[in-house]
Amino acid sequence: MSTLAPTDPATLQPGQRRRGPELINAVPVRHPGRWAAGAIILLFAAVMAQSVVTNANFRWETVGKYLLDVLVVQGIGWTLLLTVLSMAIAIVLAVLLAFMRQSDNPLFRGVSWAWVWFFRGTPVYTQLVFWGLISVLYPKLAVGVPFGPELFSLSTQDVVTAFVAAVLGLGLNESAYLAEIFRAGLKSVDSGQMEAAEALGMRKSKIMWRIILPQAMRVIVPPTGNETIGMLKTTSLVLAVPFTLDLTFATNGIANRSYLPIPLLIVAAIWYLVITSILMVGQFYIERHFGKGVDNLVPAPVKAGPAPVNALPATAAQAPRTPRKEDEVL
């Protein structure tokens, strides 16, 4: 190597560093297989694109006509509303259920377990049909003393409308799945975090909210994003209630009236994809928020300066102390 490393700066070749060792500039391994596979994939993609564009049966003009149809746009609104409300209910319940499952109180643990067992153990379709039929089971909802007089009552049909039934059905079912995701998240936080907070005299509820849950969110967010995107599509099952204003029902309705199922399926698919993409962007930012302190950390630069002098309280004996070495840098 000594013959290659110039000792005189004047003899440095262009691109060589003036100071420090000569950096390795190795020839990378060639991957001819990747180039071949890439060419094949490109060819397939081109053939597919060509067929999608030229095959008249796709009826792209119909897709364009209905993409912003008022029924479709309203359907998007209802689908988003169903997704957001049912996920909101599910998340609130899931936090509660996960905390209950970790409680010292055996009643809480039992209720939480039974809830998950029931709502995860029966099909969401069945639950939606059931909520649609709740007014048959209980025609009126009354508030009163148990086994005693009734104070006031409402017709179940007025309270549990098709929309409410759909949100309840989706939200309660989802809460069971999310509860398990939240439970896994809480368990993923090191037990030392709980002990440290306990040793500081913090109450259990504060520890869970301020110390454990925020750290568990790192683990909870990705599968919850998954569930939210799943929920977006599961809302198409609300016809079981029946609730008939969501995106899938709206596009199916148009398809049935116009005898053009394929372009209307494409309309629905495009919108589901657009919403999913937006949700994924949101998930990215939520993950970044809860990952602070753990993910993507670079060792922080340490300000140079003299070793700090300890400020002892006034009561302390001013004994000579051993000089501290500079703060260690990670």
């Binding site: 907070a197 109450r203 301020r210 302190g293 753990v294 700090p308 300890n310 501290r324 703060d327 260690e328």
Partner: protein, 262 residues
């Protein structure tokens, strides 16, 4: 208890009387008696599994004792005694007892999602209801005291082990405890980082803090300790002045242990 004339001036802060602890059928503590006086540094040594960490964790109720009594400044820890029976304290009452007892862990256990400063102000603001401004000022003083004033906004993952442990000490001090428990505070550190943590602990001892320290640092025990207690198999084998005990251990088991760690 025999109180000799030279110690009557110092009040007993921690009184451990006949403490036993079982984990299932495993008898971990087998009748521990110990007294730590105000301002004293009590050092606990012993082989792993001797029960020294368990004893420390019993003092702030991270473990519940099976028999005996622990008093910290005349408060019975973990229980209330009335009409001849012990009653479990509520979680709220236990939390209140822990406020005056600081603890430092082997693995630091800093809150990973909070910066050094946020770690320190968490308990004063959330438990004592201090204003954020006041807590921050105090936290910066404490960070300065442990030599990390310019690391206030670093997350634990950005700090070395030694720095994390010093932040953990500052976090415990922020609650202004009357007693500090150290559970092998330097055992998880690289050898070159041990000194910084021990220096902070020495300063703390000089400032008059009452400390119970579980450690393998015999040098620290000799230099800073007021008492040294050697535990093995869940019992106190011997206890006394650190320099005398290290120089002249009375029991064969103590001699054997010291010959391995010195």
């Amino acid at each position: 208890m025999i109180i000799t004339s030279d110690v009557v001036t110092k009040e007993a802060l921690v009184r451990i009387d006949g403490v036993h602890k079982y984990f299932g059928h495993h008898h971990v503590l087998r009748g521990i008696d110990m007294t730590v006086r105000q301002g004293e540094v009590a050092v606990l040594i012993g082989p792993s599994g001797s029960g020294k960490s368990t004893l420390l964790r019993c003092i702030n109720m991270l473990e519940t004792i099976s028999a005996g009594r622990i008093h910290v400044s005349d408060d019975l820890i973990g229980f209330r005694e009335s009409r001849g029976r012990l009653h479990d304290l509520t979680t709220k009452e236990i939390a209140a007892q822990r406020r005056d007892i600081g603890m430092v862990f082997q693995k630091f256990n800093l809150f990973a999602h909070r910066t050094a400063l946020q770690n320190i102000i968490e308990a004063p603001t959330q438990v004592k209801g201090q204003s954020r401004g006041k807590a921050r000022t105090r936290a910066m003083e404490l960070l300065d005291r442990v030599g990390l004033a310019n690391h206030a906004n670093h997350y634990p993952a950005q700090l070395s082990g030694g720095q994390q442990q010093r932040v953990a000490i500052a976090r415990a001090l922020a609650m202004e405890p009357e007693l500090m428990l150290f559970d092998e505070p330097t055992s998880a550190l690289d050898p070159e980082l041990v000194g910084d943590v021990l220096n902070v602990m020495k300063d703390l001892a000089k400032s008059g803090m009452t400390m119970i320290v579980v450690t393998h640092e015999i040098g620290f025990a000799r230099e800073v300790g007021d008492t040294l207690t050697f535990m093995d198999g869940g019992v106190v084998v011997e206890s006394g002045d650190p320099r005398q005990l290290i120089a002249n251990p009375q029991h064969a088991r103590t001699r054997e242990f010291l010959s391995k760690v010195l």
